[in-house]
């Protein structure tokens, strides 16, 4: 289990995280939601060890993460950031093979090749296996990067806005894949996501953040309600519940029309 106790993070004078204490339930999909600048990504980067906290402690399975050697940490926690401008000439297979680096340090064994095959098959990328990354569409590229992270075979997956700039089909494909990773393989997935409807329909647990602090958190049904979301985003919400899940309408909720 990943837990934070009294974590602070400041960039210069700017306080980004302010006394955050929270636990992430294992074996579940947890979405971090909240307005821009709430500190969601910073929180994720702290867990990924891409940044160090100014104060406070993060623990993985009861052990302070700073005391775990980084090469061992990479066997337990895998991180996927938004894939930046990428001008490397790599095939999908070569990219996915990088996911085995924590284990093989570059010399792939039979077990590594099997893990690569499994990750590629899991996301149905067989047809793109030998395609070059820079010739793929944004959605396909994101799938390839996700395959690399899956090949890392870690208990924890951290994803920073994995749906950014994706069309609806690829966004759904990615979220379904994360759901299956959790349900079929028992992995813990923590992601930052902006689309409240994806968060509401695909995660088990939601952590809502506002101004560097946890605004509210809990199981989806508990967090996704009109009052909480209105406070969080300063927007009116109308939540339509059906058997399949929730649809959060913030485009033209009937409540705000009454106000006008």
């Amino acid at each position: 289990m990943i837990s934070l106790s009294h974590v602070y993070k400041a960039y210069g004078n700017q306080q980004v995280l302010n006394d955050v204490s929270i636990e992430f339930p294992p074996g579940q999909v947890t979405s971090l939601i909240g307005p821009n600048g709430a500190g969601k990504t910073t929180l994720l980067m702290l867990i990924a060890r891409l940044q160090a906290p100014t104060r406070g402690e993060l623990k993985l399975g009861g052990r302070s993460i700073a005391s775990i050697p980084i090469r061992d940490y990479a066997k337990q926690v895998a991180t996927l950031r938004q894939a930046p401008e990428f001008n490397l000439r790599l095939t999908v297979e070569e990219l996915v093979a990088f996911g085995r680096f924590p284990y093989s340090r570059g010399n792939l064994t039979a077990a590594d090749h099997q893990a690569i095959d499994e990750a590629i098959t899991f996301l149905s990328l067989q047809a793109l296996r030998l395609s070059y990354i820079d010739e793929l569409s944004g959605g396909q590229r994101q799938m390839a990067f996700l395959a690399m992270t899956i090949a890392q075979q870690t208990d924890y997956l951290l994803l920073d806005e994995p749906l950014n700039n994706l069309d609806m089909k690829h966004a759904v494909l990615i979220m379904r894949a994360l759901r299956r990773l959790c349900d079929e393989q028992g992995r813990t997935v923590i992601l930052v996501v902006h689309d409240i409807n994806f968060a509401a329909n695909y995660s088990d647990h939601i952590v809502a953040m506002k101004r560097g602090a946890v605004h509210c958190h809990g199981p989806v049904a508990q967090v996704v309600n009109e009052a909480c979301l209105r406070d969080l985003f300063d927007l009116d919400f109308e939540i339509l519940r059906s058997e399949q899940g929730f649809v959060c309408n913030y485009f033209n909720p009937s409540t705000s029309r009454e106000l006008i």
Binding site: R49, L50, R71, A78, L90, F98, F101, N107
Partner: protein
């Protein structure tokens, strides 16, 4: 198929050029001409490997294809050091240190320099490569100005010695210098050989590298230290070659069509060596020693650098 051809073709080209350089117009004089040429050829080989490795590894760390170690002020500090030696000790310094003492001292100094830059910038756990590059650029301008100032203070005789450092050439390479430079570079290459997969991971960028279990700070400082040694050796052999690294690295990426360092490093070395052999041959046979390899290389590669700048600006 075409990729294999490119991979081995460059080495065939190097072999042909090397043989041509050794034998053309030598009169098969194995007593004097050919041993002399062999020494120059060895110096060219060493310098080529240095320039290629330093540039490709540096571009991997910086995540940028228009930069070379020269931008970080590595060459500038070497030249400033030479100027300072002449100013403080006069021509005595040549006798005092000898040529080998000078080179070794320069390497130590540049290691210290790269450690300092790295240390100072990474001290808060912030590690911004762009900040590092900006600092290097400003520092190299400052150092170049100091060097010019010193040149005004020294006597004409001392100035001509300093010019010899600024425009080092293969013609002056001594067998002893070639041997210990070669050993040093072989050692560095051996170290790099062991970290080839790590370099591939570093090319994915800082965040992805850390996420894959790389001790990023340590790896980058090790690679920067290796680059410092390589640049010291190459600058003492050919003088400053600011633009050559950009040329060599980019031609390599285009030909190799992969970013695997297992492929790019040897290929870049071959291209650098071929380029240096051609330049040296032109200097000897066509220009009759009236120009230096450094000037020729910077002329050709500088033009390429400009076109690269214009082209990437158009596409960005």
């Amino acid at each position: 198929m075409s990729r294999l051809l490119a991979r081995y073709g460059v080495w065939l080209l190097v072999l042909a050029l090397a043989l041509g350089f050794l034998l053309l117009g030598s009169g098969l004089d194995f007593a004097y001409v050919i041993p002399k040429r062999l020494t120059r050829l060895a110096a060219i080989g060493i310098a080529g490997v240095c320039i290629a490795y330093a540039s490709v590894i540096f571009q991997t760390i910086a995540g940028n294809r228009i930069l070379t170690p020269a931008i970080m002020g590595y060459e500038a500090i070497y030249l400033l050091f030479q100027a300072l030696l002449i100013l403080l000790l006069g021509t005595q310094s040549l006798v005092l240190l000898g040529r080998h003492g000078n080179v070794l001292l320069s390497i130590l100094l540049m290691l210290g320099y790269s450690w300092l830059i790295h240390r100072w910038l990474f001290r808060n756990g912030r590690n911004n490569v762009y900040m590092l590059l900006l600092l290097g650029l400003v520092l190299s301008m400052v150092m170049a100005t100091f060097t010019q100032f010193i040149q005004l203070k020294i006597s004409p005789g001392e100035f001509s010695i300093l010019q010899g450092f600024n425009y080092a050439s293969f013609n002056k390479a001594q067998p002893a210098q070639v041997i210990y430079s070669g050993l040093l570079v072989a050692l560095v290459c051996l170290l790099v050989q062991r970290t080839l997969p790590l370099l591939d991971v570093l090319s994915l960028g800082r965040d992805q590298a850390i996420s894959l279990g790389v001790d990023y700070l340590r790896s980058v400082s090790l690679q920067l230290a290796l680059i410092a040694v390589l640049v010291a050796v190459s600058t003492s052999l050919v003088g400053p070659t600011a633009f050559m690294g950009v040329f060599v690295a980019n031609i390599t990426y285009a030909l190799a069509r992969t970013n695997r360092h297992r492929v790019t490093l040897p290929m870049a070395s071959a291209i650098a060596i071929a380029l240096l052999i051609i330049a040296q041959y032109l200097v000897e046979q066509l220009f009759n020693y009236n120009t230096s390899v450094s000037i020729l290389i910077n002329l050709v590669c500088g033009v390429y650098f400009l076109t690269l700048m214009v082209r990437t600006r158009g596409s960005a």
